[in-house]
C-alpha cells in the first residue's frame, strides 16, 4: 500500500509480510522490517506494540483514500494511493475555495446576540457581521473582504455550530 502522511514529504510503501513464531506480525515499510504485537483490535480502535513501543490508534474517519486517526491521542491524516487522492483533493479544494470566498462563517460555536448588518448592505473587509456569545465571551464575526450581503443565514438568539455560515456575499 502507498501511503502519504500529512506534511511528511516522503511517500511510504508498506505491507504485511507474515508472522513470527511468537505470533507477532512482520511489517515491511520502505524495505525495512518491523515487528508488531497486537494487544487489542476492533473496528475503530487498535492497540499494538510496534518496535517495542506501545501505541494506541483510534480511527476517526475512514474512506477508501483517506484515513484520519488519533495516534497516541494526536490526530494524523493518512492518504492511501496518494497520487490519485492528491488529484481529487486539488480539484475539490479549488471549487471549495471559490465557494468559501462568498460565505462568511463562524469559526466558533455560540449564540447570536446581535446582527450588525441587513440583507443588501455593503460591507468592508473587517466589518462586524454578527456578535456571538460563547463561554461568557463576546466575539465579533467579521467580513473577510469587501462586498454586498446577498443573504443572512442566522437570527438573533439562535445557537450556531462551528463552521456554520452566517452570511453570504454577492
Amino acid at each position: 500500500m502507498q501511503i502519504k502522511i500529512d506534511e511528511f514529504s516522503e511517500e511510504l510503501h508498506g505491507k504485511i509480510e507474515g508472522f513470527t513464531r511468537s505470533g507477532d506480525l512482520v511489517l515491511k515499510i520502505n524495505d525495512k522490517e518491523h515487528l508488531l504485537k497486537i494487544i487489542e483490535i476492533g473496528t475503530d480502535k487498535f492497540e499494538f506494540i510496534f518496535d517495542n513501543k506501545f501505541h494506541e490508534a483510534k480511527i476517526a474517519e475512514s474512506t477508501s483514500t483517506e484515513l484520519k486517526i488519533a495516534l497516541d491521542n494526536q490526530i494524523l491524516v493518512l492518504k492511501k494511493h496518494s497520487k490519485l487522492s492528491e488529484i481529487i483533493e486539488k480539484s475539490t479544494s479549488s471549487t471549495g475555495g471559490a465557494n468559501s470566498m462568498n460565505t462568511i462563517s463562524s469559526q466558533i460555536p455560540g449564540r447570536v446576540i446581535s446582527i450588525a448588518i441587513s440583507k443588501g448592505d455593503e460591507v468592508k473587509q473587517g466589518d462586524s457581521i454578527v456578535v456571538l456569545e460563547s463561554m461568557k465571551m463576546q466575539v465579533a464575526i467579521k467580513s473577510h473582504r469587501d462586498g454586498k450581503i446577498r443573504d443572512l443565514k442566522v437570527k438573533e438568539g439562535q445557537s450556531i455550530s462551528r463552521n456554520d455560515v452566517v452570511a453570504i456575499l454577492e
Binding site: I5, E17, F46, F48, K53, A57, M135
Partner: protein, 503 residues
C-alpha cells in the same frame, strides 16, 4: 467557640463546587448543591449531600438568580452560603441579601465588597493607606466621549476596564481612538450582561509588566495574614492561564515589604475572609496595586501547596467567627507550585471555545500532582458557562521539579471530544524564557509561543520512528481488518491472527 455553621449551600458549579464539597466533607458539614437544567449530570450534583434545581441553563436564571438561591437556602435550612468564584461571589447585593436572611455569606461583608468592587473608591482608599496604585483615570466613565478624552490625555495604548469585572473579564485594550470607540461598546455590553451595570474606566496600559498578587486572609478579630505571592503573568487577553508561587523575581525582603503593603490594603477596607491584592510589577521592580479580588481565586491551590493551608476550610472557620490559627511568622514557603488552567478552547484556532461531550478522559496523578476538575468520562462541557474545565497543579521542591512534573502530567492528561489549552502548556513548560522566569503579561506574543506550539506539533508529527511508522502500521492493520471482516462476519482476534495473512 461553638460552631455556627453545620451546613453550607454552594452557589456555584464545576470544579470549585466540588472543591467546596470536599472541604465540607472533611469538616463533617452538610453540603447543598444547586444545579441548572444544563447541569443535571454534573459532578457537583452527584457528590453533594443534597442538590436542588435552581432554574434554566442561562446563568441569569440559575447561578445568578439571587432570590431563587435564597429560597433554596432557606428551604434546605443551611447556615451559610459559599459563593465560589465568578457568579455571585463579588456581588454585594447578594451578600446583603444573605445578611438580611441571617445566613452567613462566606466572604467579606457587603460593605467591604462595595468598596473593593468599585475600583475608583478603592483606589482612593488605597492612596490614603499609602498603597501605591497604577497611574490612570480617577473615576467611572459611562460615556464614550469622556473615555476618549481621558485616553487622549493618558496617551495610547489604554485599557478599558469594567468597574465590576475581575479575573481579566471585561478588560480590553485600545491602541487608538477608533479602537477605543469600538471596544467601549463591546465592553459595556459585556459588563451589562455579566454584572447588570456598564461602568467602565480607563487606565494607561503599562508594557512588559508582571502580574503578581498576594493571597490574604483576615478574620473578624482584625487579624490579617498574607500567604505569599502568586505570579500570574502568563495571560491571554488579560485572562490568566498559568499561575505560580513563588514568583521567579521575588526575594525574601521584597516579599515581606509587598506583603505588608497588601495587608494594609485589606485592612483599609475592613476586609473579612480570604481575598487577593493584585499588583502590577514593572521591569524596574516597582509594584502598583490594582485591585482587591474579594473572593477565593481560581488559582488558590497554588498557595495551598506551598503553605500547606487549606484555604476553603480556613474560609469556613473565619466565617464561623474563629480567629486565624497561625501567626505571620509561622508561615513558611515550602517548595514551588505551578497551576495550568485547562480551558475548553482551541489554542491552534484563536482559542475558539470548544464544547460538547467528553466520552473519555484520563486525569493525571502521581507524585506532586493535583487536579481540581469537574471532568469525568461521559461528562459534558457546556457552552453556557466558563471554559475552565480543570486546574492542573504541580508541586516540586523547587521550580524545576515542579515544571518537570507539570510537563509529565500534561502528557498524561487526556480529554477526548473537545479541544483544550493542554498543547499550549506543553510548549510553555519546555520554553526557554519560561524556564528562566522571564515572564510578562505579553509573554505569549512577545515570544511567539503560539507559533512555537504549531512548529513543535509539526515536528512531532514528522517523527519517523514514533509517528510516521506507527501510522503506516495502523493503516495496514485497518485495511487488513476490513478485508478480514468482509470475508467473515466472525472476525474474532484469533481468527484474524492465524488467518494465514502472508501477504
Amino acid at each position: 467557640m461553638t460552631s455556627k455553621i453545620s451546613s453550607i449551600l454552594i452557589a456555584n458549579r464545576g470544579e470549585i463546587a466540588l472543591r467546596i464539597i470536599r472541604a465540607c466533607r472533611e469538616l463533617g458539614l452538610k453540603s447543598v448543591a444547586i444545579y441548572s437544567d444544563e447541569d443535571t449530570r454534573s459532578i457537583h450534583v452527584k457528590r453533594a449531600d443534597s442538590a436542588y434545581h435552581v432554574g434554566p441553563a442561562a446563568p441569569a436564571q440559575s447561578y445568578l438568580n439571587m432570590n431563587k438561591i435564597m429560597e433554596i437556602a432557606i428551604a434546605a435550612g443551611v447556615d451559610a452560603i459559599h459563593p465560589g468564584y465568578g457568579f455571585l461571589s463579588e456581588n454585594e447585593t447578594f451578600a446583603q441579601l444573605c445578611e438580611k436572611n441571617n445566613i452567613i455569606f462566606i466572604g467579606p461583608k457587603s460593605l467591604a465588597m462595595d468598596l473593593t468592587g468599585d475600583k475608583m473608591k478603592c483606589k482612593e482608599l488605597m492612596k490614603k493607606a499609602e498603597v501605591p496604585t497604577v497611574p490612570g483615570s480617577d473615576g467611572v466613565i459611562e460615556d464614550v466621549e469622556l473615555a476618549a478624552e481621558i485616553a487622549r490625555e493618558a496617551g495610547y495604548p489604554v485599557l478599558l476596564k469594567s468597574a465590576f469585572g475581575g479575573g481579566g473579564r471585561g478588560i480590553r485594550l485600545a491602541r487608538d481612538e477608533n479602537e477605543l470607540r469600538q471596544e467601549f461598546e463591546m465592553a459595556s455590553a459585556e459588563s451589562k450582561a455579566a454584572f447588570g451595570k456598564a461602568a467602565l474606566f480607563v487606565e494607561k496600559f503599562l508594557e512588559r509588566i508582571r502580574h503578581v498578587e498576594f493571597q490574604l486572609v483576615r478574620d473578624s478579630h482584625g487579624n490579617t495574614r498574607h500567604l505569599f505571592e502568586r505570579e500570574c503573568s502568563i495571560q491571554r487577553r488579560h485572562q490568566k492561564l498559568i499561575e505560580m508561587s513563588p514568583s521567579p523575581i521575588m526575594t525574601v525582603d521584597k516579599r515581606n515589604e509587598i506583603g505588608e503593603i497588601a495587608k494594609r490594603a485589606v485592612d483599609a477596607v475592613d476586609y473579612l475572609n480570604a481575598g487577593t491584592a493584585e499588583f502590577l510589577c514593572d521591569p524596574q521592580g516597582n509594584f502598583y496595586f490594582i485591585e482587591i479580588n474579594s473572593r477565593l481565586q481560581v488559582e488558590h491551590p497554588v498557595t495551598e501547596l506551598i503553605t500547606g493551608i487549606d484555604l476553603v476550610k480556613l474560609q469556613i472557620s473565619i466565617a464561623n467567627g474563629e480567629a486565624i490559627p497561625f501567626k505571620q511568622e509561622d508561615l513558611k514557603l515550602n517548595g514551588s507550585a505551578i497551576e495550568c488552567r485547562i480551558n475548553a478552547e482551541d489554542p491552534f484556532y484563536e482559542f475558539a471555545p470548544s464544547v460538547g461531550k467528553v466520552p473519555n478522559c484520563n486525569l493525571p496523578y502521581g507524585p506532586g500532582i493535583r487536579v481540581d476538575t469537574y471532568l469525568y468520562p461521559g461528562c459534558t462541557v457546556s457552552g453556557f458557562y466558563d471554559s475552565l474545565t480543570a486546574k492542573l497543579i504541580s508541586w516540586g521542591s523547587d521550580f524545576d521539579e515542579s515544571r518537570r512534573r507539570m510537563r509529565n502530567a500534561l502528557d498524561e492528561f487526556v480529554i477526548e471530544g473537545i479541544n483544550t489549552t493542554i498543547p499550549l502548556y506543553k510548549t510553555i513548560m519546555n520554553e526557554d524564557h519560561f524556564i528562566k522566569g522571564e515572564l510578562s503579561t505579553d509573554y505569549l506574543d512577545r515570544y511567539s509561543i503560539i507559533e512555537k506550539m504549531k512548529t513543535e506539533l509539526k515536528d512531532k508529527n514528522s517523527n519517523f520512528q514514533n509517528r510516521i511508522l506507527p501510522a503506516v502500521a495502523t493503516a495496514l492493520l485497518q485495511s487488513e481488518y476490513i478485508k478480514k471482516n468482509a470475508h467473515s462476519r466472525q472476525g474474532s482476534q484469533n481468527n484474524w491472527r492465524f488467518g494465514g495473512m502472508t501477504n
